[in-house]
Symmetry: C2
Subunit: 153 residues, 2 copies
DNA sequence: GTCAGTGCAAAGCTTTTGCAGCGCG
DNA sequence: CGCGCTGCAAAAGCTTTGCACTGAC
């Protein structure tokens, strides 16, 4: 959120268009608010709260309601275009579920800052576990809590 | 919660007593409600919501208030005797932070059931990552979402 | 026209806080 | 007896829902 990884232009637009199309294919008509949320999430590289999405859209002059933001996030989560991320704290966060740019989160215990990281070996370990537990595992989430570089100093 | 791993008698009492002592050492007097919550958490093997703790204590005839449950959980989390677990859903969950019996969680997307699992290789991968990211990592949390054996059928 | 989508406001939940009284050291 | 602990009730978030209206097909 506050420390986005380097922009990755490729894949975003395809996420945006395939999401719009997928929503339509699922039998929904899609409106202005949905489009605005999808376009914003396409630009963002890390998880945002519903309120942050709302504020950001308002700042851009888009007249969406907070209720529509929540309804859109629920719909997109349902269709697996968006992943809900629970990193603790009062509110849930959301980010696009991208196959490329798969990552997890670091949360600073002190200042609340959120960073992203990714690790190939960690992914392998998770897939190894997923095949052993009795669940048909779909998504996974790893959250590391600790002091960020600034706060540790 | 609904599918507790086999009871592990060893370590629980020591957690209970060292928690009580630690709270006292930190300058708190400890009251009846705190004791009741600690004793309950010592018996439980997986994460519970504040409401579940409250209901369970009431069912046992302990007259604690929900506010005291929250206040105790906040205190114990602060002192690292309890770990807060965010597995999605409306409310946060809490369990004792035990060095033995370290585990993570599986959440059924369908029925909401919660199971525990542990994996040595996953832990190694996490510690490997923790040493590379710029954070001074304290705790970590892994949540796998998917269909449990019953719901997958 | 029909029916999903939207905004607003109200309701619902979880969690926190204010305050008076109780109780351990 | 002081100060933390507790219960109760009220308040404060976050999220969902009801409803009338708009807008896409």
């Amino acid at each position: 959120v506050r420390n986005p990884p380097p922009k990755m232009e490729s894949g975003m637009d395809s996420w945006s268009t395939s999401t719009i199309e997928g929503v339509r294919a699922a039998g929904y008509r899609g409106g202005a608010a949905q489009r605005a949320v999808v376009e914003l999430l396409a630009r963002e590289d890390c998880c945002l709260t519903a309120q942050e999405i709302f504020d950001s859209l308002r700042a851009d002059g888009r007249k969406v309601s907070l209720a529509s933001v929540y309804r859109t996030l629920e719909l997109l989560s349902e269709l697996s275009y968006v992943q809900r991320v629970d990193i603790g704290g009062a509110s849930a966060r959301f980010e696009r579920a991208a196959l490329e740019d798969h990552h997890h989160h670091l949360v600073c215990t002190d200042c609340g800052r959120v960073d992203a990281f990714s690790d190939e070996q960690l992914e392998r370990a998770i897939h190894g576990v997923a095949s052993k537990v009795g669940y048909d595992v779909g998504t996974h989430e790893v959250v590391l809590h600790g002091a960020c570089a600034d706060c540790a100093a």
